[in-house]
Structures are given as C-alpha cells and as structure tokens.
C-alpha cells in the first residue's frame, strides 16, 4: 500500500495502482481520452499529464505511471495546466469545428474537456488534415476526420470483442483508424465502440441526426433481447424510444451491450399491433376491445385454457396470465415454445449457477451445444476473458463456431457428455474452478441433462464457494417463467395433448401453431409477427419499453425495468388486459392495479420481490443419463432476427443480411 500525496492530501493507494487511479481516489478529476478502465493502457493521448516528484522535471502521463511510495503528485500546478492546454491544442489542430452537425455533440469528451482544460482559442491557421470515411458496417457511422487516434476502438475490438478487424494503418500524421479493408466489423458487440469513442468519429448509424442528448428522457431498464439481462438506459423523446445504451453493472454486462440490445429499437415503432383484431370468415378484422373480449368469452372454454409465454414475456405479464388461467380453473402453463422439455423440478439444475461475473475466473471450461456468442454475447465476453486473458482451457462439444477464443472442439455428438475424452476429463478434474456450460440446444437432446449433472458431480464442479454447473438460456423470459411455474413435464407437448379450447400466447411467435388447430388462439403481444398471423384474437399489448416489469436473467438475477414510453394506439399494458378480460369471463384475478399485481406475484413467488440473485439451492434431480448419440441442434439460426421486435427492425434486418449473409451494402451507404 504505497502512500502518496495528491495535491497536498496524503492517502494510501492499492499496490500497483496507477497515478491516475490514485488521483481519482483522492477525488481529483484527471482528463483522459485513451485511458479506459476496462481496456489495456495505451498512454497515447497525453491528456492525463500530471506533475510527479520524484521524477523527471516534466509532466508525466498518469495513466501509465505506477504509484510509488512517497510520490508527490500535483494535478493543479501551473505546469499541469500548461501541459493540458498544450495537449488539447495539439488534439484540436486537426479536429474539425463541426460540433453543430456532430452527433456526439452534448456528450463528447473532447467538447467537455476542451471547455474545461483548453486554451479557449486556437493559434493554428494552417490547413487541417482531412480523412475519408471508413466503412465499418451497418451499426457504426464514421467521420474519421474527427478521430484523435486514442485507439480505444482498436483495443476494444481486440480485447473484449475478440474480433481483430479494427486497426490503425499508416504512420505519423497519416495514421488512420479503419476496419480491415473497410469491411463491416463482424462482431455482435461492434456498437460498443460508439460509446467508447471519446469524440464523434464513431457514431451510431441508425441514430444519426435523430436527437440531441439533452432532448431525451432517460429511463433505466433491463434489456429483453437475450437472457443476460443487460442493464440499459432507454433514451426516448416524446413517445418514441430513440436509442438504448448500456449502463454499468459489473455483475451482469460490465458496460457493454450487444448490437441487438442497442439497435432493435427501430423495430419498436414498426409492425405494431395498436388495436384488437378478431378473425372473422378466415381473416383478421379490426375490432374493439369489447368485441375481442366477447369473442374470447364465446369460446366457452371453461377450464380448458392454456397460456404459453414468449421469449420476451416479463414476470408480471406471465403472472397475470397465470392468475387468469388459474381463476378459470386451468393449469396449462408453458414457456418453452419450441418444444424443450428438460426437467425443471429444481431450478438450480437449469440455472447459470457460476454467475456471469464469476465466469471469468473459471480455469477449465466445457461448452456443450451452445453458440455462446449468439446465445449470450456478454457471457461470451466473460468466457473470452477467462480464456484469453487468464489462460483458461476451453473445450467444446457441438457445432464448431468461432467464439473469438481458442476452443478445443471434441466433436458434435451429444453422447460425448457421458464419455468425455480423457484429456478433457482430466483437465476438468484437475481444475480448481471447472465450469460446464450447457446451451438450450444441448438440453433438447434426451439424456444430456442427466449426463450433464452427473458430469458436474464426477469432475467436482460443485464445491465450497464454487458451482460450475451452468445452463445458458437465450430467452429473457425463461428463468422468470420457470419460477412462475410455466413448465410442464412434457413441455409444450403436454399443452397440445390437453387440446385446450382457449390458449393465450404471450408474445409467443415460435410455437408450431398447426398443433393448435382446434384452439381459440389469443395472441397477447405487441408485434404483428408469426404469432399474430396465426391468432384468432389479437389483444395489443405493450413492448418491454412500455411497461414496468420484473425479469430474471439466466443466472437467476431478479431485475426491474421501468416504463419509458406509452404503448401505441389502443394497446394496453399486459397485466391490465388480463384484469379486464377476467371481468368479461366472470372470474377474479385478485388485483386491480399494477402494484397489486406485482404484490400478488411476490406473494406467490417471494424471490421475485427481491432484486438480485435468487437462491435456488443446489438440489440436482436424478435424471436418465444416457444421451443419444446425435448432433446437437442450434436454437438460433440468425442472431439478429431472434424475436418479433428484431424482425420488425430495419437495422437488425440489415445486420443480418450484411454480416451473416454477406450482402453488399458498402456502396449503398455512400
């Protein structure tokens, strides 16, 4: 613990801390551009200069200088002020004065810091350097003349995203940041470089010229695009969500978000269901709420009623539907639309037990039947951290994919789970913190779940302070739905077999609707997608940005999201739809307001009332452990088009066409 003095204040700093971190501990703000706490230290912007003694009699870059015992650091001396002014002047030499037309304006580090630390006027009257725009894909818009070459984007691409597509070419004044041969950056995390860029060189392409940061209402939310539960901030103007940005949560998403999380929002204003529809003479006709409710009542279903939750259903919605189904006397609740039927007697056996944050501490990792990069991009970055930074060994069973780190593929055969090759088995057994990650695809093969639990036991993956058994889900609703009892022993097959007269589909689009030919299908959702096409009655509901809700991510973390905007047209919040329908059907769901709905839900499942990790205990069931010898299917065919909102989003469609299917948009973008 070196003792240093910052501006006359003496303090102890942790061993190995940099001078910049010491200054921050002392409460001093140090301007910086290239330094970022989650990236390696580059030390090339020189903005963080401070005066340090003992040392050379000149300002020093504090971000790259380790603290030493007895250092005296000055951050407010005339030398520091002059140094900062000098650096800022150099940075601004080639930076265009186009703040009025720059999307970064108002949230620009360079703007803020030049106001705070700059000279106030320029002495430079030569020509400024100009740099051509570089194509970086459908998400990132570039104005490279603004670039100050901090290389944050280059370091992010290499260290976090694991896609070494961005680099600095040329040298000296001619150095330029570009993607390889100006092709689209093939990363599902490329949008993060927009946040990292301290200037307006990399900005968001879909959000270009949409709004100024001070016009936006900012709401704290939880992303529903995947089961990671990314903490986000929803930026809305008026009734429209304009963008979604990640917020810092070290336990979940650090400060990253996938491109799908960021850019599905333009799908929120397209293909929306804004009024009820009822199928008459084979075609869906616009109707009033009353007519729609009457149509449901006319089915006369009695207790023969089911509810099937979609991938983006939140806990309150699922609880309200469950309350109605139960009130009608039914109990057919299922959330696994595509036919998964793994055992859910103990939620600990289908949970990401290691927790997302701890995943980066694993030393031997086995991935089974999961394309982690698509199913949970932000868990993939943790595994990459373990593998790439800390040298963990990664084995994989399943279809070979590029996960951005080295994986030793054992083959695409589910039966390998029961008879791992010796090398992998020995590595897992010898590991201090072994981690097994099973994807939804793996659990779809009979016998894998049981074999997986046996394997976890035999390699000692569960020990004091470490649970290495993990299931990674890709549906945001999954853990919440299982906690609320949306899990039948035979999965959705049980629902089909029961032939319900009435079924509610809570934004469920992936169901095989042909199985429900004789059922009155009520689609409660927000997008006119597959589910709405197949429905007999459509009740327009709110998307995730349009309601308060509780959700549980794949590690069992209960999180709450707030309402940012109102649902369009006649659409209503989901809980209120079921409340109103209960009246028509002559039953009581037991709540009259959202708060009462949430309270009733917490009364049934107390864990949903506490934000944070839910404790499922560790009680693995005994399951058949003879996995079939067959290939493990992949549940995600197209990362960018996994749900109704994404499919309605032009940006996501373009990402899919361009990044996954190789369509050429480079020219069209000019």
């Amino acid at each position: 613990m070196p003792k240093v003095t910052v501006d006359g204040v003496e303090l102890d700093v942790p061993q190995g801390a940099t001078v910049l971190q010491a200054c921050e501990l002392a409460g001093k703000e140090i301007p910086r551009f290239c330094y970022h706490e989650r990236l390696s230290i580059a030390g090339n912007c020189r903005m963080c200069l401070v005066e340090v003694s003992p040392g050379p009699p000149k300002p020093q870059a504090s971000c790259a200088l380790p603290t030493a015992e007895g250092q005296v650091i000055k951050t407010d001396s005339p030398m520091v002020k002059k140094a900062r002014e000098g650096v800022m002047e150099f940075l601004l030499i080639n930076h265009p004065l186009d703040c009025p037309i720059c999307d970064q304006g108002g949230e620009c580090d360079l703007q803020d810091q030049s106001v705070a630390y700059g000279r106030g006027a320029t002495r430079y009257d030569e020509n400024k350097r100009a740099v051509t725009e570089k194509y970086m894909g459908p998400i990132v818009k570039t104005v490279m003349t603004r670039c100050i070459q901090c290389t944050r984007c280059v370091r992010f691409a290499e260290e976090v995203a694991g896609v070494e597509d961005i680099g600095a070419i040329g040298r000296g004044e001619n150095m330029q940041i570009t993607s390889y041969l100006e092709r689209a950056v093939a990363s599902e995390l490329s949008g993060n470089v927009i946040d990292l860029c301290p200037v307006g060189a990399l900005t968001s392409k879909p959000y270009a010229f949409e709004a100024r940061p001070w016009e936006l209402t900012k709401t704290l939310g939880i992303d529903m695009m995947d089961a990671v539960g990314t903490n986000v901030r929803i930026d809305a103007r008026g009734r429209q969500v304009l963008r979604v940005l990640p917020r810092v949560n070290d336990d979940v998403n650090e400060e990253w978000a996938s491109d799908k999380t960021r850019h599905h929002v333009d799908g929120l204003i397209r293909r929306r269901l804004d009024q009820p529809y009822v199928r008459k003479d084979g075609a869906l006709q616009p109707a009033t709420w009353a007519e729609a409710f009457e149509a449901i009542k006319a089915a006369n279903a009695g207790a023969s009623v089911a509810a099937i939750a979609g991938d983006m259903a939140d806990c309150e919605t699922m609880f309200a539907a469950k309350a109605l189904v139960n009130a009608l006397g039914g109990n057919l609740l299922e959330g696994r639309q595509t036919g998964l039927d793994y055992d859910v007697t103990s939620l600990s056996a289908v949970n990401f037990n290691t927790t997302i944050a701890e995943a980066e501490n694993a030393d031997v990792i086995l991935l089974v039947g999961t394309n982690l990069r698509w199913e949970a991009p932000l868990i993939n970055t943790r595994v990459r951290k373990a593998a790439w930074k800390k040298g963990a060994k990664v084995f994989g069973i399943g279809a070979e994919t590029d996960l951005t780190y080295k994986v030793e593929w054992l083959g695409n055969d589910a039966s390998l789970v029961a008879k791992l090759p010796k090398a992998a088995l020995d590595a897992l057994k010898g590991a201090e913190r072994p981690m097994l990650i099973f994807g939804g695809g793996a659990l779809s093969v009979p016998g894998v779940h049981g074999a997986a639990l046996d394997l976890a036991k035999s390699v000692g993956a569960i020990k004091d302070g470490w649970n290495g058994f993990n299931v990674v889900h890709f549906s945001a609703a999954r853990m919440g739905s299982l906690m609320l009892g949306y899990g039948l022993p035979g999965g959705i097959r049980d629902v089909v077999a029961a032939k319900p007269k009435l079924a509610f589909f809570l934004g469920a689009d992936e169901v095989d609707f042909t199985n429900f030919a004789d059922t009155l299908k009520v689609y409660v959702g927000h997008h006119g997608d597959k589910g709405a096409h197949a429905a007999d009655v459509i009740l327009p509901a709110a998307a995730w940005t349009e309601k308060d809700f509780t959700t549980v991510n794949t590690e069992g973390r209960v999180q709450r999201s707030d309402k940012a905007v109102f649902a369009p047209g006649d659409a209503r919040e989901d809980w209120s739809i079921f409340r109103a329908l209960a009246d028509t059907l002559g039953v009581s769901v037991g709540f009259d307001s959202f708060d009462a709905c949430r309270a009733a839900m917490v009364a049934v499942v107390p864990a949903l009332g506490v934000e944070g990790l839910a404790d499922y205990g560790w009680a693995p069931p005994k399951l058949p452990a003879k996995p079939d010898a067959r290939e493990i299917p992949s549940p995600i065919k197209d990362f960018y088009l996994t749900n109704a909102i994404c499919r309605a989003s032009p940006t996501m469609n373009r990402c899919s066409e361009e990044i996954l299917h190789g369509a050429d948009y480079a020219e069209a973008a000019e």
Binding site: R129, A130, V131, T132, E164, D165, I166, G167, A168, I169, G170, R171, E173, N174, Q176, T178, S179, Y180, L181
Partner: protein, 222 residues
C-alpha cells in the same frame, strides 16, 4: 497524403494473387525465419516474412515486388495472426509496397543533408528520364519515390534503388546510373565520387590524421 494508399482493385488482385504460396526455396527460408523466434511468438516473424513475400512477388513479376492483399493474408495465416495486424505492419513501413512498383524502385532522399548537397538535381535527372513521383514509368522500368533520410548523410545526396545505395550523386552520375539500369547493366554501387572509397573524406582525412597509421592516443592533447 492524408488518405490511405489506393489499393488496387480487390477482385482483380484476388484473382491474380489468391493462389499465392511460397516457392519450395522460400518455404524453407520462411521455416528457418519462424524458427528464430520462441514457440508461441511466431508473430514476431511477420516483418522478415513479408519482405520474403514481397521479394517472391517481385521475382514472379520481374519487378521490385509489392504486397497484394491476398499475399499479406497468406503470411498472416501462416503466423496465425489476424489479417488486420499484418496489414497494419505493411502500411506502417515504407519498404513494403502496397501498390505494384517497377523493375527498379528509385527512392530519392530529399531530407536536409541530401537537399543541401543537391538532391534536387538527382530528382531532376529522374524526372528527365520520364519518371513522376509516386508513379511507375509506362515501360514498367522505374518507380520514383521521394523518401526521408536513409542514414547515408556523409555521402549525400543518395538514392536507394532496390537493394543498392548510390551515393555522392549529381545530375550526370544519376543519369548514367539510370541509363545503365535501363540497358540491363549493373552500375557501380556505393559512392559515385571516384576520389572516395566509402564514406571516407575526399582527399584524405582532415581530422584524427594520426589515427591513419597507428592507434594514436589523443587524450593528452585535449
């Protein structure tokens, strides 16, 4: 120059160079170059390998050689490094050519010592031979580039042509050299001043004269 070099059309280049592979001889050389570095650090071999590749391209095209994108990718793939990282190296160092060059790559130094000693005349000789800065002559013989200091200031002005230096130049000697090269002859390399051997002073030493015959100890005289 604020823009990236104009890389030749990718489709054409890929069609021509996509199948690039080491010749048997160069494959051996590449192997021995990689073996110089510790296991797992084979990326360190990127610069010598790129140079080798450029020379092979040169041999195939009867020029000084350049690095088409597929060739860079070939080298990067052999070293198991991302294409971007190898590409960065190529763009950083001026001795790697990103565009095709002629048979002789004439690099005229225009930095201060050479400028003071008459590099303008050298440049004029090149231009009068039909060369334009940054271009290759239509006959494919010469490519002219103005470069910064090549560290041969004692023999300024100088040019580097392919792997050889030509020093102590003036308009006439430069013209002579270019004519000789165009005629397929090998002109004398090094200094073009008949009174000098290498970088020794013209007309004998002017300082430390006593050192010529013996190892004289000057210290007492200082």
């Amino acid at each position: 120059m604020a823009d990236a070099p104009q890389i030749p059309d990718e489709t054409e280049v890929r069609a021509r160079w996509g199948a690039f592979a080491w010749t048997a001889e160069n494959a051996e050389k590449a192997k021995s170059i990689i073996a110089r570095y510790p296991a797992g650090r084979q990326r360190s071999a990127v610069m010598p390998l790129l140079d080798l590749a450029q020379r092979q391209v040169g041999a195939e095209t009867q020029t000084q050689g350049w690095l088409p994108v597929p060739v860079i990718e070939y080298v990067a793939a052999q070293l198991d490094m991302p294409y971007m990282r190898a590409y960065e190296v190529v763009t950083f160092y001026t001795m790697y050519n990103l565009v095709p060059v002629g048979r002789y790559h004439v690099q005229v130094c225009g930095t201060t010592p050479c400028l003071l000693r008459g590099s303008d005349d050298v440049m004029a000789a090149c231009k009068n031979r039909g060369m334009t800065k940054g271009k290759t002559t239509p006959d494919g013989l010469f490519t002219l580039t103005e470069v910064e200091c090549m560290g041969t200031c004692t023999n300024a002005p100088m040019v580097q042509i392919n792997d050889d230096n030509f020093e102590d130049l003036d308009y006439d000697s430069m013209t002579r050299i270019l004519e000789a090269l165009a005629a397929g002859e090998q002109p004398k390399t090094g200094t073009q001043n008949p009174k000098r051997l290498t970088s020794d002073p013209e007309g004998g030493p002017t300082s430390l004269k006593d050192m010529v015959s013996a190892n004289h100890d000057y210290r007492k005289e200082w």
